[in-house]
């Protein structure tokens, strides 16, 4: 959790209560590095250690364990235990052309890191088991320690979530629907591209996230549920914002803009310029409640880059039931942060 410093926000945001945000991590960052069993044996004469390392590296290079040092305290890492029975280890080495007289023939099983550790704390644990190479990644360290965002960025995240909360409240009252709100945000422009709110009383699939995604499509001259004319305000296309939500523009005008970059209309096919957007690429989504599995996968299809949500949901697909955004075989993954204005979202 990041406890931010003294709250010093402007008037429209001074009702913030909670200010914690937490990255939802994929398993390879939230768990210890997996381990694997290997055979080790002592080098009989310590003066032969470097010779033994060269010999074992050429006789038995282990591609999947290249992150491990080959020797520790005079002991040589031979190969994974899965290769053969303990009693057959020396026979096996001989067959591979390794001079077994270099070893004492006291073969033991050792537990070592199966994969290269990704984080410093993972490294420290596995390095104690068996020495291991490690390249620290500053971005990942900041991500896992929840130090990714500075004070200004945090303030912007909160404003975005505050808008999602306003959307949830306004739509909930006006359309007598669930108080769930979503916005899609262009972090480069610092601009709200589209909003969405729960319409499940009309259509069970119209979750706030799905509606927001469709409103992004509206800004790209598409959209399945709503068709709106392109509205250009201050050089931005605000068609992702339904008319009755224009009050948001006035309320947040001081801090944030509304609309997305214009696309090129060079011909009828509406070629999209390099500058303009494709689906939700490079956009962030802010959703008051953890999106469900359907919505989580919809955000994968839409190639969103980050998702922030306030409160976890019983049917959530980002951390509660599963982490859809981390499924290895999918062609797109996004980062997820939870707990943004959590109490305000709970209060909805």
């Amino acid at each position: 959790m990041i406890p931010s410093k003294k709250r010093k926000l402007d008037s429209e945001t001074d009702d913030y209560i909670s200010d914690c945000i937490k990255a939802v991590l994929p398993d390879d960052l939230s768990k210890d590095t997996p381990l694997v069993e290997v055979y080790v044996d002592e080098v009989s004469d310590r003066r032969n250690i470097s010779k033994a390392v060269v010999a074992i590296n050429s006789a038995f290079p282990v591609q999947e364990l290249l992150h491990l040092k080959r020797v520790r305290n005079g002991k040589l890492l031979l190969f994974p235990k899965s290769v053969c029975e303990l009693s057959e280890v020396h026979q096996f080495l001989m067959k591979k052309g390794f001079d077994t007289s270099l070893l004492t023939n006291n073969v033991e099983v050792a537990l070592v890191a199966k994969l290269p550790p990704k984080l410093k704390n993972q490294y420290e644990k596995v390095n104690k088991l068996w020495p291991c190479n490690f390249h620290s990644n500053k971005y990942l360290e900041r991500l896992v320690t929840n130090n990714l965002f500075d004070e200004n960025e945090m303030q912007l995240h909160k404003i975005c979530m505050k808008i999602a909360i306003d959307v949830a409240q306004y739509a909930g009252n006006k359309y007598n629907s669930k108080n769930v709100g979503a916005i899609v945000f262009d972090p480069k422009l610092k601009s709200v591209v589209a909003i969405g709110y729960d319409c499940t009383n009309k259509n069970p699939c119209k979750h706030a996230t799905m509606v927001a995604i469709d409103n992004v499509a509206v800004t790209q001259n598409g959209g399945a549920w709503d068709k709106r004319e392109e509205v250009i305000v201050n050089g931005l296309n605000t068609s992702g914002l339904p008319k009755d939500f224009e009050f948001l523009k006035d309320k947040y005008a001081k801090t944030i803009s509304f609309g997305c970059r214009l696309s090129d209309h060079t011909d009828n096919k509406c070629r999209v310029s390099e500058e303009s957007s494709y689906l939700c690429t490079n956009y962030y989504a802010y959703v008051t409640h953890e999106p469900c599995v359907m919505c989580a996968m919809a955000l994968v299809h839409s190639r969103i880059s980050r998702v922030f949500f306030g409160v976890k949901s019983r049917i959530g697909g980002l951390c509660t039931l599963c982490k859809t955004q981390t499924i290895k075989d999918l062609n797109h993954h996004y980062e997820v942060f939870c707990g943004l204005l959590e109490q305000e979202c709970i209060n909805l």
Binding site: K202, N203, P204, C205, M210, I213, D214, V216, A217, Q220, N221, G222, G223, A224, W225, L279, C292, V293, M294, M297, A298, V300, H301, S302, R303, G317, L321, C322, T324, I327, D329, L330, N331
Partner: protein, 179 residues
Amino acid sequence: MQSSSNNVVNCNELSESEKHYMEIAFTYAQDALRNQEVPVGCIFVYNNEIVAKGRNTVNETRNATRHAEMNCIDDVIAYCEDRNIVSKEVFENVSVYVTVEPCIMCAAALYNLKIKQILFGCRNDRFGGQTVFDVANVLNPVTDVKGGYRADEAMALLKEFYKGTNPSAPPNKVKIKNI
């Protein structure tokens, strides 16, 4: 993949009308291909009546979630509004015929609606709601899911599409056999 091998449909198990419905779904997949959309076709059948039919409209709508199944769900909503009936009961008695295994998103949507059964053609190795990630493990659906009918044809349509537009991302090898 293991969990899915037990629901491979045997051609002999299908009634003539089920084969007929699947044939209609295929015509929508072909229509998608003609319109430069990912060739997936789908129909929803309720009490022996086709209440929704559709195909992918992702490129047309610039919305990556407009899969055939999602379009059909909207059709059912409209069908129910027209007739002033409750959509929940309709969904719970719908059979879905779709040429490709529903993706994770569509599988979640169909399971949440408590759809009665799904019959699909080929596996979806890129996004499949069983093959890539088994949504049933987290949503505990009541829906009966079977696949593999005319899988080779369904896959051939997908290959045809990816050959023309996006050679870098073809759906790779079909893992189950069409019986």
